[in-house]
């Protein structure tokens, strides 16, 4: 079946309107991505443009023990951060929703306080948490720990495992608000009749949560997890300020590694190759996201 002449004209008009946006996308996204892709197959540094193209950079990247340890660190950081952010975000969203339904005062204040963490730039969050995790006696968290255990001298940032845990804590503090907003929006659209019907049927709060609310909100959870995962994979500013990736490489995630490779080692090809890996990870998650949305729409 062929489209009517009016429809064709309308489509052409729309295409014309979209042209500036398409050109902008090509200029600021497609061309830079191809440039990075080209660099990743060359042997370029900031000082010298590489000649010819080869797979050598990728071969060196994937055979490097550092890269494998960075990927493992990234995986731990992302999985722990996403799980905690979504869980805590949902807990706060439930609390806010409950407060709203009961007409508690101060809910706006709580929402604003949680959102403030999301609005603060990552670098500032890194600096603030670095001060909180100071290993001097004057450090806030150190003071709290020593109230409970006077002889303790925890190494929040100078020992590999605690440094990774501290980084996850700071990232969860930063990112929980985003999950909270998404899930709170879902809870607000939750039909109250279902709530009341469940109560009349004698369902307790836990049963209501696990048998009714969670299944209904499951699609929203999936969207939330996908979006938060992409954000967490790209985390770099906060870690740069908090640990710089150290001690050693114990908190060096992939995005931070790309930055350091390009801007402190001047290695454009290796940085480009690592950036392509990160891009593929993000594209994979985005593909799942759109597949899911398409499936829902159909």
């Amino acid at each position: 079946m062929s489209a009517s002449p009016g429809r064709v004209r309308e489509d052409r008009g729309l295409a014309l309107w979209l042209l500036p946006l398409a050109l902008l996308c090509i200029a600021v996204f497609v061309i830079p991505v191809f440039q990075i892709l080209r660099l990743s197959f060359s042997a370029s540094t900031l000082m010298k443009a590489g000649k010819g193209l080869s797979l050598e950079t990728y071969s060196r990247l994937f055979s490097s023990p550092d890269f494998l340890s960075i990927m493992l660190t990234t995986l731990i950081f992302v999985v722990a951060s996403v799980a905690l952010q979504v869980a805590l975000g949902f807990a706060i969203a439930l609390y806010l929703d409950h407060g709203r339904s009961q007409g508690y005062r101060g809910m706006l204040l709580v929402r604003t306080a949680v959102l403030a963490a999301w609005a603060i730039p990552g670098v500032v969050i890194g600096v603030v948490w670095k001060m909180l995790f100071s290993e001097l006696d004057s450090g806030l968290v150190m003071s709290l720990v020593r109230l409970v255990a006077p002889g303790a001298r925890p190494q929040f940032l100078s020992s590999p495992v605690p440094a990774l845990v501290s980084s996850i804590v700071a990232n969860v503090w930063r990112g929980t608000a985003y999950s909270m907003i998404l899930l709170y929006a879902g809870l607000m659209t939750f039909p109250r009749e279902l709530d009341e019907a469940a109560h009349l049927d004698g369902a307790g709060a836990l049963r209501l949560l696990f048998r009714i609310k969670l299944p209904i909100l499951a699609p929203l959870f999936l969207i939330c997890i996908l979006l938060v995962t992409v954000q967490t994979f790209n985390t770099f500013d906060m870690l740069m300020a908090l640990t710089g990736g150290g001690p050693g490489r114990s908190t060096e995630v992939l995005a931070l590694n790309i930055y350091k490779t390009i801007f402190t080692e001047f290695d454009l090809s290796r940085g480009g190759a690592a950036a392509m890996v990160l891009l593929l990870v993000n594209l994979g998650i985005t593909w799942v996201y759109f597949r899911f949305l398409k499936g829902r729409a159909e």
């Binding site: 100078s158 150290g246 080692e265 001047f266």
Partner: protein, 426 residues
């Protein structure tokens, strides 16, 4: 709705504003673009520095009333700033005049303009500069492509009320540190985090003192092979022993730059630390002149039998523009504010750096602090600059990571060094 009339008005207004902007530019002979580190610029946070620079720029502007000075800033992350400036230079977008971290200046040589004529016309003798400051700015053709206007030096700071004789060797360090630890002090601190300060202050001086070399004459890395490997291992093992024996807290793995130690020093529990001369000014502003008077300065302790060595850093000015008129204006600006006898004396005094010209130390314009003479002596006898090899940033990054890993107990010195060597060799 977009009509032909609206479109005409919009185009007319855009052209008119362009013409207005163009006419304001054409009032000046030319625009001189000047890019500096924020702390060395009119936008710095130190009012004394800014006041000094405003005065110097105003003086310069009297000679160039029709030149418009366009001041831009580098990022405060030096490595990143230098990388971006290099990229600009390679693409032909470099500013007319820019501040360059001296040890990377050789990488800018293809884009910088020779300054010999301007230097000679200003009556400056290159022999007046410390040898390292003269050597680093020269190209293969022997011409001068930059002017190093500040320098700094890495030293041992020690509390005079706690340490009667500063340690000269690592054995001395352990001996002195034991008594200090028993008294409850953090005996010996040093930057061991992930920044250039850790490599430059904590590693290179001790490595060079043993005769170690980071790269060969051709710029290829050699720090991880043969005798150099053993020398670097000695340094890493020394630091590991300090941490293992409780003389150094492992939290130094979080301190990438020398200034990161200032908070600890101000808290009063530190007895000795490795740092840079510029910390005198920083610490004086934190703990006051009285607190600073407790601190003495000595050479970096070395392995028994090794020579004295330390890393000398500092900043240079480079001129990228090929326009002779702009070159002259740019050079006169740095002459007035940073490079001439009065300029260098004034700037280094107000900012707490060391002059690179020997004659400036005896100039009335230079106001030395209590340590300046000793810093000058150490610079002259022990000062050495980092190799200008293309591979240096990677060596530095990998060795910072290695030191941080050793101090935090993540890796043994052998494993950390071998990993760093493997990463650089790849």
């Amino acid at each position: 709705m977009i009509t032909a009339r609206n479109l005409f008005v919009a185009v007319f207004l855009a052209l008119a504003s362009l013409l207005v902007a163009q006419s304001s530019v054409s009032d000046a002979d030319f625009t001189l673009s000047w890019t500096a580190h924020p702390a060395y610029s009119l936008s710095g946070s130190d009012p004394n520095r800014v006041s000094y620079l405003k005065g110097a720029v105003a003086e310069w502007q009297k000679s160039y009333p029709k030149v418009k000075l366009e001041a831009n800033l580098l990022s405060t992350n030096n490595t990143e700033a230098m990388a971006k400036l290099l990229e600009q230079a390679a693409q032909g977008r470099a500013p007319d005049l820019a501040q360059i971290d001296t040890y990377v200046l050789p990488r800018y040589l293809p884009y910088l303009q020779p300054l010999d004529g301007l230097i000679k016309a200003a009556g400056i003798d290159m022999k007046d500069f410390f040898p390292f400051a003269d050597k680093i700015v020269r190209g293969k053709d022997g011409k001068v492509y930059g002017v190093q206007f500040t320098t700094d030096v890495r030293v041992l700071f020690y509390r005079k009320d706690l340490v009667t004789t500063p340690p000269k060797t690592w054995d001395d360090v352990f001996r002195v540190a034991k008594g200090l630890k028993d008294k409850g002090y953090d005996a010996f601190l040093f930057p061991a985090g992930l920044a250039e300060g850790a490599a430059n202050t904590s590693l290179w001086g001790m490595f060079w003192g043993q005769g170690g070399e980071l790269t060969d004459a051709g710029g290829k890395p050699v720090f991880g092979t043969g005798a150099n490997r053993e020398r670097m291992l000695n340094v890493l093992r020394f630091y590991k022993s300090l941490v293992d024996q409780g003389y150094t807290p492992s939290r130094v793995a979080n301190y990438g730059n020398e200034a990161d130690l200032n908070t600890e020093v101000a808290a009063g529990k530190v007895a000795m630390f490795l740092g840079g001369n510029f910390q005198v000014a920083q610490l004086s502003s934190i703990i006051g002149a009285e607190g600073m008077a407790k601190w003495g300065v000595a050479r970096i302790p070395q392995k028994a039998g090794a020579k004295n060595a330390t890393s000398a850093g500092g900043w240079s000015w480079g001129i990228f523009t090929k326009d002779p008129a702009k070159q002259k204006a740019a050079f006169d600006l740095i002459l007035k504010a940073y490079v001439g006898t009065e300029g260098m004396g004034g700037w280094t005094s107000v900012a707490g750096y060391l002059p690179t010209r020997k004659s400036v130390y005896t100039s009335p314009s230079y106001k030395p602090d209590a340590y300046s003479e000793l810093f000058k002596t150490i610079l002259e006898s022990d000062g050495r600059v980092r190799p200008p090899a293309d591979i240096y940033p990677q060596i530095s990054t990998e060795m910072e990571t290695a030191l941080s890993a050793v101090v935090s107990g993540t890796k043994t010195p052998e494993k950390a060094l071998d990993d760093a060597w493997a990463a650089v060799s790849r």
